[in-house]
């Protein structure tokens, strides 16, 4: 596991080598490896988002249904996940699974960790979106005699999504950036690869800077695009 200790050891070894020059050649050399890591980053983001947005809806509906005990428990659960660090949650999952005989590759564990964490946030967004649909919409649907699943599917959820989707979009971008945390459970995503290159070649400047740049190059346009779409659809 690329734990803290290897970072520390690497830091100790480099302290001697004072190279201030930026080696473009080396920087470009790191790209293929970094891009391989990027694939994992994107995978983690994609599947993590899928999990988060599905689970989040489940939590939200469970809370809105006001089931006597379950809803309160879910509320506590959501607050707990939002109130504790993702890092510890990941460690917990990563080390707990094997003891219960669950052998999952690190990436899958990471996806579950990310998905669970962001599902708590997503549930709040869904709740706000659904609560934001005016009571009148429900009442009008009742008056029209629409069956319940149609009320949800055709009337309420579409309106709730208008509010929720831009926020969830931002979550995807956040998840993309936060996926770097998976490097702590030995997933070879973007930052993980950068750190390995650094540890192996004793040159951290180029790979870390390139990795940071790659994050920027992807997330900034994505954020602008999202803002553009928000403005266009006139979402809240």
């Amino acid at each position: 596991m690329a734990g803290r200790r290897s970072y520390g050891a690497a830091a100790a070894t480099i302290s001697g080598a004072m190279t201030l020059e930026w080696d473009w050649g080396f920087a470009l050399q790191t790209l293929p490896t970094l891009l391989r890591g990027l694939v994992f980053t994107l995978e983690a983001t994609f599947y993590g988002s899928l999990l988060a947005f599905t689970l989040g809806l489940v939590w939200a509906l469970a809370r809105l249904a006001e089931v006597p005990v379950a809803s309160q428990l879910i509320r506590l659960w959501v607050e707990f996940i939002r109130g504790t660090p993702l890092l510890i949650q990941l460690y917990f999952l990563f080390f707990i699974f094997p003891t219960y005989g669950v052998t999952l590759p690190a990436l899958e564990t990471g996806v579950i960790g990310l998905g669970l964490y962001y599902s708590a946030y997503a549930s709040e967004v869904y709740r706000a979106g659904i609560e934001g649909v005016p009571r009148g919409q429900w009442e009008a649907s009742l008056a029209l005699g629409l069956p319940l699943h149609r009320v949800w599917g055709r009337i309420v959820l579409p309106q709730a999504m208008r509010f929720a989707i831009p926020v969830l979009g931002n979550f995807v971008i956040s998840m993309f950036k936060e996926s770097a945390i998976l490097s702590t459970i030995s997933v070879l995503e973007l930052i993980g690869q950068a750190n390995i290159i650094g540890a192996e070649t004793a040159r951290y400047v180029e790979p870390l800077t390139m990795a940071a740049l790659i994050f920027l190059i992807i997330s900034y346009p994505a954020a602008r695009l999202l803002r553009l779409l928000e403005a266009r659809t006139g979402a809240v």
């Binding site: 504790t84 510890i88 319940l148 936060e178 770097a180 950068a194 940071a212 954020a223």
Partner: protein, 243 residues
């Protein structure tokens, strides 16, 4: 077997708890920088002069756009090469503070923008000085809007301090991991650690609520309208879940 482990875990608990003050220190230091940076960036971006707006905007976008973790590693490993010798704690707090500040700047900007333009105009029409205008007219109306997001930012900082364990700072997460590697039993250690963080988060939330009440009183806001809003019934009807 588990009995043996719990006993040894109990021995290590004091060590674990010693991470709490470090975590709180880091949280406090970071959130202070977040607020300062948030105001500096936020006011810079609201400025009328493009020469101030664009550079600040660029800095904010870069800080927000790259991953906080990437920035953390970058500050820890790359800065020394540029001759910047910072202690891990200072470097870590700076990264968390600037990153958080970049996000908080949007809160600051939005809060100031939410104050109706007519307030500024009335203050100008009454020939009140711009200092008075800022301190007694605009700020009392903008500050209360910033408190709830500030509360969120504070909890976020608490959680982000766990990342500092990756750059050798011996706060709570670092110690949890160290104890875990000694005991080779992850569940209880991390479980207790999560509970400690949760307790801290709850305590901070309570404090933020108190802060909110304080600021509201300073800003002269009455609560009559707000509590009524909070107790409003859910817009989802009873029969929404019973087919």
């Amino acid at each position: 077997m588990t009995d043996q482990v719990s006993r040894t875990l109990q021995d290590y608990l004091p060590l674990l708890f010693q991470g709490v003050p470090v975590t709180l220190e880091a949280t406090l230091a970071s959130i202070t920088l977040v607020v300062i940076a948030g105001f500096v960036f936020g006011l810079g971006r609201s400025s009328k002069s493009p020469f101030l707006r664009w550079p600040v905007g660029l800095v904010v976008e870069v800080l927000r756009g790259s991953s906080a973790i990437a920035q953390l590693f970058w500050a820890f490993y790359v800065l020394p090469f540029f001759g910047v010798e910072l202690s891990p704690f200072v470097a870590g707090v700076m990264v968390l503070g600037l990153n958080g500040g970049a996000y908080f700047s949007e809160v600051v900007r939005a809060a100031f923008a939410a104050v109706p333009k007519g307030q500024t105009e009335a203050a100008i029409a009454l020939n009140l000085s711009s200092w008075f205008r800022l301190r007694r007219v605009i700020l009392p109306q903008a500050l209360p809007l910033m408190i709830p997001p500030f509360g969120n930012a504070l909890i976020d900082m608490l959680k982000f301090t766990a990342l500092l364990s990756l750059v050798t700072i011996q706060e709570l997460a670092y110690r949890a991991d160290a104890i875990r590697s000694v005991l080779a039993e992850a569940g209880p250690v991390y479980g207790i650690t999560l509970l400690i963080y949760f307790a801290m988060a709850l305590a901070l939330s309570v404090m933020v609520q108190a802060l909110e009440r304080l600021v509201d009183r300073w800003a002269g806001r009455t609560h009559a309208g707000d509590s009524a809003k909070r107790r409003a019934a859910s817009s989802v009807p009873r029969w929404a879940f019973r087919p």
